[in-house]
């Protein structure tokens, strides 16, 4: 049974089926989306069970697509793919449960969600560069429509900006892919082979240019300062589920790409620029945190913390690429980076749900206009506090082990970078506590005094995420043993 292909294909087919659903059955799109996602989840669960943690790329499914160009439908998993694919499914379940735009889920919205889901899964599982790129761009289109159709006030502008930036990012990636394809003999888009053969190993300027092309693309997606300016606009204007998926899943495309392509296929070039990349990541981490500190809009604040958290990922990846790093440090850094992506997906997903609920209840996300929300909404408030503490890296919650591993790995090669990076955790702590203090503590004005607490539907969507990030925080090896970068990261 081609489980992986099944996991990708079912959402896509369901997306195609969405327009055909009868208009009368109002619940049908939602149920279809849930069913399709459930099938995906089941297929991934089977894969998880069959997965051999000791081996690298495995369970590869392969079908010829365009033999002329050596393009194949080639999907497979290694630790990173599996972990991120699982994250994807989890977040999509939550998003579908939460809904997009008008309720119940419309056919168009369900279709877009499913399209996005299929494409994202395809991206994480792809072992062929054309599939990889196709998935990369399809996510762009689906997300564009999600934002532009169901977003908030300035959705058009934000959607355009998102589209523009991501396209600017994706096209250099295409050039890079072509360059890799052309340098491999015989020409191939097979990522496994490209990673094994490393056709550009040791070649100077060419490798650097290709590296730069990929890096720009993934840096925009990740995003790394200064390529991040699309992110706040897109996050703020997107509908709640859109923000969740954008931050939870789509940002991971960049980090995944950095590891999968830049690190695995161009290690020599990466080693040359590792310190520069790490410094960019450091700037991202600190800058994101600082800018987040000044935000009064909760969604913008969360958006900028994404810049901060993804900056850690970049630092970890860069550290793993550096020449001086020990094997232990390398594994720590990459394990940490991947775990950070998973954890950030769960935590930030929760945070965006929180912001969405807040906006829905109070009509504003401006922290200056809110106060004392813990009183009318104690459960919600506790959830907020939990998610905030998770995001600021409190031990026992998922991001702590991830960040710690990244720091440990980075310290191995650049102690100064690691030491400065650690300062970021103070700033994030500050910004989250400020927000907490401002909006959730203190006196509650009358207009906020009667807000309803967390509704069942919302709780069902959010609770699994919270449970997951707590569990991961207590026992990160649940995922780390699967990620196990040692088994697939070729020694550099």
């Amino acid at each position: 049974m081609p489980w992986l292909s099944l996991a990708i294909a079912v959402p896509l087919l369901a997306a195609a089926a969405c327009p055909l659903l009868p208009r009368r059955l109002a619940q049908a799109p939602r149920l279809l989306a849930l069913a399709a996602t459930a099938v995906s989840a089941a297929a991934l669960a089977v894969t998880w069970a069959r997965f051999d943690t000791g081996k690298g790329m495995q369970l590869v499914e392969h079908a010829r697509w365009i033999p002329t160009l050596d393009v194949s439908w080639r999907v497979g998993v290694d630790g990173m793919s599996l972990a991120l694919a699982a994250l994807t499914v989890v977040l999509f379940v939550a998003s579908i449960l939460y809904g997009v735009g008008p309720r119940p889920l419309t056919r168009a919205a369900a279709g877009m969600l499913l399209l996005l889901e299929g494409a994202t899964l395809a991206f994480f599982l792809a072992q062929d560069f054309v599939v990889f790129y196709v998935a990369f761009d399809v996510t762009l289109v689906a997300m564009y429509f999600l934002i532009a159709l169901w977003g908030e006030e300035h959705r058009r502008y934000a959607a355009l900006k998102f589209f523009l930036y991501t396209l600017i990012g994706s096209l250099p990636v295409l050039l890079g892919i072509i360059a890799l394809y052309l340098t491999a003999e015989p020409h191939t888009f097979n990522m496994t082979r490209l990673a094994a053969e490393q056709p550009l190993a040791g070649s100077g300027l060419g490798a650097s240019l290709v590296f730069l092309a990929f890096f720009i693309g993934f840096a925009i997606k990740t995003p790394i300062v200064p390529f991040h300016t699309w992110l706040p606009a897109a996050h703020v204007e997107a509908p709640t589920s859109g923000s969740v998926l954008l931050a939870g899943v789509l940002l991971k495309l960049g980090g995944y790409g950095l590891i999968r392509v830049n690190l695995q296929m161009l290690p020599d070039a990466f080693a040359k620029y590792a310190l520069a990349v790490a410094l960019l990541g450091l700037v991202s981490a600190l800058y994101g945190a600082l800018v987040a500190l000044a935000q009064t809009d909760l969604k913008r604040l969360i958006a900028y913390t994404s810049v901060n958290h993804m900056g850690y990922v970049v630092i970890g990846v860069a550290a793993a690429a550096a020449t001086g790093i020990s094997q232990r440090g390398r594994e720590l850094a990459i394990d940490g980076a991947v775990l950070q992506m998973v954890a950030h997906g769960l935590v930030t997903g929760t945070l965006f749900f929180i912001a969405g609920i807040l906006k829905q209840r109070t009509g504003t996300r401006d922290l200056r206009q809110l106060s004392g929300l813990l009183r009318p909404m104690p459960v919600y408030g506790s959830l907020v506090a939990l998610a905030f503490f998770a995001s600021l890296g409190l031990p026992g919650l998922a991001q702590f082990p991830a960040e710690l591993q990244i720091f440990l790995g980075t310290f191995d090669v650049w102690p100064a970078v690691a030491a400065v990076t650690v300062v970021g955790i103070v700033i994030t702590a500050g910004l989250f506590l400020r927000a907490l203090q401002r909006a959730f503590m203190g006196d509650v004005p009358d207009r906020l005094a009667r807000l309803p607490d967390l509704a069942r539907r919302e709780a069902i969507a959010v609770a699994p995420l919270a449970v997951l990030f707590i569990v991961l925080g207590l026992y990160p090896r649940l995922v780390l043993d699967v990620i196990k970068s040692a088994s697939w990261l070729v020694g550099g």
């Binding site: 600082l290 506090a385 500050g430």
Partner: protein, 631 residues
């Protein structure tokens, strides 16, 4: 043993979850949990005294060396038992304290939860586990400080507490990274690696300890933390959590040996005096106690640096009992008068004599009046500091200060001028029981010194005649400093005439000589002397006011300034964000649009212009080709 270790952490946690789950049965559940939680540490202590050692850990992260676990050894057993004891008392007290509070389940669960992570901190095996619980303790602390919804100071206090400690925790992180990077291990008991990495480890751990233990210049958060409920202050911000810094120093003795401990000692010595001055000038009882805590923790730092683990831990234990007792008593007064402001509390002790008795006993202990507990432990610290004159002087100054800052509230509490009202509050019995227990402990805990030394297999506690003598003198000087200038002679005389202090002070032999001295001074009626004596405390007072001012304005403002600087930087980058990069991108879009409009002018609609441009273009192409072909 492993089971007991995990139970020590698990039982309070379980209790917390149960209380949270069944808020209506919070009281019985809390009592049960508190009592149950106290059992394993005691058993552990016995086992440790028996020479048993154990560790129980598991691989938390896949990389070799990054295990997380708990350990039983002499130090952890001793501190764990202390935490458990204080915890038990405070929890039982809390049952009473929160009796009227409809959110008591939350508070009690919070306290139980804190107890769990605090035990985890104490029992942690290896720096990774220590860091985990270290951070959790901070978060639990912030949560508990922010408990009050009525106090506008609560939320900012919690935020400041968490942020200050977390800033210091950067040191812990860096130390951990450096240690692991250098040695590949995060186990306790390693020697300090050489070079810059070793320096990072040393500095990092000391900074972390300073943050947690509210040592200068990071002490400001502690007074802000007093916005939390009083039992919280008693448990977290006097007895246990803040002592974690001392615990870290003791635990890391092998890593910190040498200059890092010296740094810690200096920090401790300076803090001991500075915080004492701060305490002297506070107008809020709990803040007085907070200052006192910082000061005493400074003494512990000195003890750890100069005298070794046993000295520090001994004072930790005695101080925990005394200070927690003081807080608990303060909580009783707070319930009586619904305030902790000293002006409001005037006379509260007279109205509630049982509580005042406990308060006074604990205060005397902290003020190092023999033969109460803290006298002995502080004496060892003084003795240990003797070889280093500067520390020695500072320690003595702080001893004097401790007498002063405790006497002042005691006098106010016993004053007659107060409102004389007592709010009947539910749960008084629980509370008074707690005060009594700790007062008793403050009396007897002094005997623990020798057993502690045996348990820790430490060298005998240092002592010397000089230190004992000066230890005895110092509190007296401190008390005088309070009694003389702050009481106008007429008032003092009237007070003496009426036997104002007699009833209270006669019971405490230690204060009697002080009072006698004051009488003698008054009898001498020597204005010059009077003035001279008057002159002594004035600079001290000025200094303490200055310090408090620094505390409230200077340092706080500095902290705020840092925060505001951060926010300003953040705003700045936000501006850059909106105006700079974004504008550049948008500007590019505008430029494209504009060039598009420009290009429309090329398409003028006039055919001959099209043709002419085409001809020119073709010529240009030909020329370009010619140039490339010819070169």
């Amino acid at each position: 043993m492993a089971v007991l270790l995990w139970l020590t952490v698990g039982l309070p946690l379980l209790g917390a979850l149960l209380v949270k789950a069944a808020p209506s049965r919070a009281r019985p559940l809390t009592v049960a949990a508190a009592v149950a939680s106290a059992v394993p540490p005691v058993v552990l202590l016995v086992a440790a005294a028996d020479g048993r050692r154990a560790t129980s850990g598991f691989r938390w992260l896949p990389t070799a060396g990054l295990d997380v676990g708990l350990r039983l050894d002499a130090l952890s057993a001793a501190v764990s038992a202390t935490v458990a004891g204080i915890g038990l008392v405070v929890l039982l007290y809390s049952v009473g304290y929160f009796a009227d509070d409809d959110r008591r389940a939350s508070a009690l669960a919070g306290l139980l939860g804190f107890l769990a992570v605090m035990q985890g901190l104490v029992l942690a095996d290896g720096y990774l586990a220590l860091l985990v619980f270290w951070e959790l303790v901070g978060a639990a602390s912030a949560r508990l400080i922010a408990y009050s919804r009525d106090d506008p100071q609560a939320a900012p206090g919690a935020v400041r507490a968490f942020l200050t400690t977390r800033s210091a925790d950067v040191g812990f992180y860096v130390a951990l990274l450096a240690l692991f990077s250098a040695t590949g291990s995060i186990a306790f008991g390693q020697g300090r690696p050489g070079g810059a990495v070793g320096a990072l480890v040393g500095i990092g751990l000391v900074v972390a300890a300073m943050g947690k233990s509210a040592q200068a210049p990071l002490q400001t958060w502690l007074s802000g933390a007093m916005a939390g409920p009083t039992p919280v202050s008693a448990l977290l911000h006097s007895a246990t959590m803040v002592a974690a810094g001392v615990y870290l120093l003791v635990r890391s003795e092998s890593l910190l040996a040498g200059w890092p401990l010296d740094v810690a000692g200096w920090v401790g010595a300076v803090t001991a005096v500075a915080a004492a001055g701060i305490a002297l000038a506070q107008r809020d009882l709990k803040r007085v106690l907070a200052g006192s805590t910082a000061s005493q923790l400074g003494l512990m730092f000195v003890g750890a640096a100069a005298g070794g683990p046993a000295v520090a831990v001994f004072h930790l234990v005695t101080h925990a009992a005394g200070k927690a007792g003081l807080f608990l008593a303060a909580g009783v007064f707070q319930h009586d008068r619904d305030s902790t402001d000293l002006d409001e509390l005037r006379g509260a002790g007279r109205d509630d004599r049982r509580a005042f008795a406990g308060f006074a006993l604990c205060a005397l202990s902290i003020a190092a009046v023999p033969p109460l507990a803290a006298f002995w432990s502080k004496d060892h610290i003084t003795a240990a500091a003797e070889p280093r004159t500067a520390w020695f002087v500072l320690v003595l100054l702080s001893a004097a200060g401790s007498a002063a800052y405790l006497l002042r509230p005691a006098l106010i509490l016993w004053d007659r001028g107060g409102a004389g009202r007592t709010l009947a509050a539910a749960g008084r019995r629980w509370m008074l029981a707690g005060v009594a227990t700790l007062a008793a402990a403050s009396v007897v805990a002094g005997v623990l010194g020798e057993p502690l030394v045996r348990l820790l297999q430490a060298p005998p506690l240092p002592t010397s005649a000089l230190s004992i003598a000066l230890s005895l003198v110092a509190p007296v000087v401190g008390a005088l400093a309070v009694l003389l200038p702050l009481r106008p002679p007429r008032l003092l005389a009237r007070a003496a005439d009426r036997g104002l202090y007699a009833a209270a002070l006669q019971r405490w032999v230690v204060v009697l000589p002080t009072l006698a001295l004051s009488r003698w001074l008054r009898a001498a009626d020597d204005h010059r002397l009077d003035r001279a004596v008057d002159a002594i405390p004035r600079p001290a007072l000025a200094l303490s006011l200055l310090l408090r001012g620094a505390e409230d304005r200077g340092l706080d403002r500095a902290v705020d300034a840092v925060a505001q600087g951060g926010v300003a930087a953040a705003r700045g980058s936000d501006w850059v964000e909106r105006r700079g990069i974004d504008a550049a991108v948008d500007g590019l879009a505008v430029a494209i649009g504009r060039s598009g409009s420009e290009s429309r002018r090329l398409q003028s609609g006039r055919l001959y212009e099209y043709l002419r441009d085409a001809v020119l273009g073709a010529t240009a192409i030909a020329l370009i080709v010619a140039l490339t072909a010819l070169t």
